[in-house]
Amino acid sequence: MSDNKPRNTFCRRTRREFLWQAGAGFTGLGLIDLLTRDGFFTRKAEAATTTAYVNPLAPKAGQLTPRAKSVIFLFMYGGPSHVDTFDYKPALYPLDGKTIPVKTFGRGGRKNEGRVVGPKWKFKQYGQCGKWVSDLFPHIGQCVDDIAFIHSMTADSPIHGSAMLMMNCGRILSGHPALGSWVNYGLGTVNENLPGFVVMLDPTGGPISGAKNWSSGYMPATYQGVILRTAGEPILDLKPPHGMTDAMQRRLLDTLREYNEEHRFDRPDATELAARIASYELAYKMQSHAPEAVDINSEPDYVKEMYGIGEARTDEFGRRCLLARRLVERGVRFVQLYAGGAHNDSNWDAHGDLEKNHNYHAGRTDKPIAGLLRDLKQRGMLDETLVVWGGEFGRQPTAEYAQGTGRDHNSYGFTMWMAGGGIKGGISVGETDELGAAAVSRRLHVRNLHATILHQLGLDPNRLSYFYGGLDQKLVGVEGADPIHELIA
């Protein structure tokens, strides 16, 4: 910079009060105050003295006309190989085994040459759009006319730790709120009996960095992801302790309320006390609603069949996909499903035997995902449910080791797709080079993906901000990012 004068480039000059609550709960006055001042929330401030309970997750209108009400993010943890799934590279097959110069950067560092591993599956054209899809996904292939593929995704890191944070929270640095937290901060949830941001993990375990992936960072804990389980207690501490019947619990809660109302009598203006009283009733309702939401027994057999429930290979992921639909149906804003967990081949991280790894992970997810898309569509829910598929990065066209078919990570170019929620079907955006090593045309960044998701939900990615640490923080960063307009119907 040549001059010493301060200049203004991209931090918006908005002076907004720090999230302040004057000793009150985040509910009650503080929140209403904040929301009103934030300007874009429509809720009018209510007189503090008459407010019994304001759910911080109460639904709010976004800044734009929403196209989607909910998001189902199918997180292919570990990083699926784009050249073996949706990014058809005919030129790569004949190069199999040849060592060629190609710049790569993965967990194995930077390399300037490598041995090509030709795609291990054949590709076929599907749908009216004629999309080439590999034999890994015969079911999803049937849905391509509803899907928009992004082949030119790029991310800032090819290392799981930082790349996971990037895809989930928009930064490679730890401590920022997750996408689901931003959505709930911006929109709230329409069902107060269920959490607004639900994460369903793979049975093998969580992703690396665990809770950092669904953390609300510097935002209130209200917005953090809640883990929902398909077996046992769906939500932590949802079930009353062993031996406590519903009648006992009701009695207990009634007594608690009597004590608390008595306590509140002398403090009539303390809305936070009212809020806490109400939170017990909500918890009680949640106890009955959440199990109902996760109970798929009421679903007809043909629906279960669509998701591959009952088939050994697809049953587990199918159940979670069906649950995702049920949650979205009940107003949950953001549902994230991890396909793959823990480490190594328990997820898509195919460093060793690519075929074995991808056959396994595609095999257990292909039919359930297709089932989800079809089921949403037949119910007319696809229009308002945005389905996102992809991992934290893709994989390299070359081998990672001296032996074998394993591919290292690739953040220079990879594929993600979206369906529903006002996204055009049957189209593809961007390209990688003929090897699939790097995005070359219409290169897009994770921030553009996030911007698109927010945009479809009616949130302006460049205006949705949270004042923290002296500036208006945004999911898409201070510089902002545009939605991918070509995808938007």
Binding site: S162, L173, A221, L252
Partner: protein, 998 residues
Amino acid sequence: MSESQLRRQWGAAILLPFVTAAALALALGPRGEAADAPPATVEAAISPADEAFFQEKVLPILQDNCFQCHGGERIRANLILTRREGVLKGGDHGPAVSLDNPDESLLLAMISYKDDRHQMPPSGKLANDQIAILTQWVHRGAPWPAELDFTTAQPEQEVDLFEQAQGFWAFQPVKRPPTPTVENRDWPTNPIDAFILARLESEGLHPAPEADRITLVRRAYYDLLGLPPTPQQVDAFVNDTRPDAWERLVDELLASPHYGEKWGRFWLDLVRYAETNSYERDNPKPHAWRYRDYVIRSFNANKPYDRFIIEQLAGDELPDATADTYIATGFYRLGIWDDEPVDREQAFYDGLDDIVTTTGEVFLGMTVGCARCHDHKIDPLRQRDYYSLLAFFRNINHFRNGGPTDERMIFESEAARAEYEKREAERVQRLNQTQQELIAIENRFRMLASDSELPQKDLDDLHYRFYRDTWDALPDFDTLKPEDTGRIENNLFDIRLRTRDEAFGFVFEGDLIVPADGQYEFFLHAADGARLLVAGKEVIRHESNNNIRQQVTGTIDLRAGRVPIRLEYYQRLDEFGLKLAWAGPGVKKRLLSAPDDAHADKQLGKAPELNKDVAALILGDTGKALLGEQVVREYDSLRKRLEALKRPTRAEHALVVTEAGRDAPDTFVLIRGNASAPGDKVTPGFPAIFNLPEPTLPTPPENATTTLRRSVLARWIASPDNPLTARVMVNRLWQQHFGRGIVATPSDFGLGGERPSHPELLDWLASEFVDSGWNIKHMHRLMMTSSTYRMAGTTNPEALAKDPTNRLLWRYSMRRITGEELRDSILAVSGKLNLKMFGPSVYPPIPREVMQGQSEPGKGWPTSPPQEASRRSVYVHVKRSLRLPILESYDAPESDFSCPVRLVTTQPTQALGMLNGTFLNEQAEHLAERLRREAGENMRDRVALALQLVTCRKPTETQIARGVELIEGLQKDGATPEQALKYFCLVTLNLNAFVYVD
């Protein structure tokens, strides 16, 4: 705006270019006279050929690829490419086009996509013919008709923030204001009250009456200790009729060792205290808990705040540095750390940013971090100020989670250090002695066995670390994350342990067994790069990336015994590998590296026979036959002694900051915060808004290990003249006592922060704080003995209407206790609280379901036994990716950044945990046991005691009856008497009266 819309707009612009006044003036003005535009813009009209070339070839490319972000919809990087003047003037990175050196033009570098940092347009590289056109255009002098200006984006209005900040309260010196006069002379106890009352009176408001004694004693216990008073403690105060009973109580609590636990936690929030690093592994930081203990001890000792600051920022540089002041510098090491960052250079500055940001916010209440990439948008802080502050820290060794740059041995006294050093020297001496005795026996055996082939074991305890990447020179391997590590059983440098043949590296470390005193020579053949260190000295450094297979040698004098040896190696392509041999007294030239058939090299001597083990032969029948049983026994015991002697003498370690010597590298402003785009050089300095001369940097003595720069910064921050330090700290103390700071944004005293509700009071407190010798307990005492603090929380409709948030303090603001206070209180009430202080952290049970969210469930959380698990929450291990549910749910801070204000959320998931969670139900059970133990058989007594324990008050008849009724009702519902009592206890732990402090 869609792309097609954009195109239409540009289309229109091309047909009808609008001519700005400036452009007109330029076009009409005489050559070279336009003072404020670069002279290059004022040239004669361009030739028709150039104009056509621009219009037809160049403009469409710029329109489609550059305009949107550089002058069309927005202006990125301050670069405007929608008019010629913008092209020549350039943006943050400099001019886009250089007319003098067209080939050096940034524009051409950017469109060439030459590396990760030069890629424009970001959406993809231009076609070759487009690049050719722009290249030609640049070479032709970037012809562009001056009147064609397509700029539609409005540059942000430049505001002189320095002008705006003129006279801004926070940057003015603290002046002690006179105590205001008030109408109600009876109310004020001390000057604080006069300031509060004067303001209330000016608004026509009255302070609430004094709270009752029980409310007061409970408030005091929570505010100073974070624990509820016991019924005896309540009674003691309530029955204390002395006029100074309250003052005595405050003093008594300030003297309690548990005061430091409560207030230490307050400080830990600010300094982003955590004991792990986040990211994939989220590994523990070594000895982080010592910093926590240091903070607790400092609060308990009432360490003057200026000293507390200096110790944390520069405790290692103090002339009177002690173990404690070293531990204090753990402050620098508490942040997040990615052990495999995508960009090391950037990660280094991320680490410094964490320090600059935290230091600025915590000590100065300035959001300095906002000026990392550009000048601050709200405060008078230039980007240059950020890097001038960063320069104080520039020489800090980047964190690597342990090792000599992060850890330091600490001793209680100099005598203890001397004792340690003596014992360690003895150990090394005995180790070498023992090794020599072993060698002597082995040599004798070799002679007697007349087997010259019998291998001499040269390397011992050899370990390897395997790395993968492409390097141009030897990297600092210790900062990199290895792909694999392990022990090498054959004790030879062996690169066959690699997993691929190109782009990899190794570090081998172990002991070299030196048979005799004397000079040894080492012979190295290596492909790309290698470095040999023996006894801590570099013997060979070899870097030949052109793959010359020449032999490199080096010599070193060694003493007989064992010395550490380290070999670093990297290889880029599948080529010649690694050979290392040595020769010297008692060593006929032989290999230390594993034989590799492909590249056998006779010159380097034979590799040891791997199938013959001298030790095994000596200890076997041959040994007994040749040496005799007694010698073999001696050999065996020498070997065992050697193993024992290998263990270093035990010493305590602390997590500390270190620097890389007494000279710091230069610091540069990083353009847009980009580590690989250095701009102007800066020197350590204070932000310009303070109008201070350049600080004089001390010249560190020859043997200094740091630059002493941090001391300069620390002394400025801890100076009575600093306008912010004292204000920021007294405001934080006020915030903890009154629920809200006088400045409601306690880490942002800038223009974007809140204005003080009582500016004079803040200054009075700040000045009192400094005058008292930065005495924190004095400030607690002042605040707590004020009438303001002792007000009741009673409501008052008139005041509520005027000041609903109680900003003016017309009453005491009720607060919910923190997650830590809640957990500690539950344990205190149940009788299970273990008040043991200090030491390594504890790991209370975490439900399996929560652990399931980890990629390796249970990793990094070795659950403590019940008694340890029942210690105060300040001693619970702070793991960034796995938090104790009750603390997380009750808003304990996300520890990645400094947390100046705890948010208070109320949500149903908290209620679920409080009703159904294991911890609550277990503690309810313990409370029930306690009631049975302490309240006897009578149910009314039990109920009464429980209610008294949680509320600190003797319950009313109705309250007791309600509890008894619940217990009876539950039994009617089928609960056993034990269950019923337990569930009643659960209710008491859920009461608002328990969770809120009046």
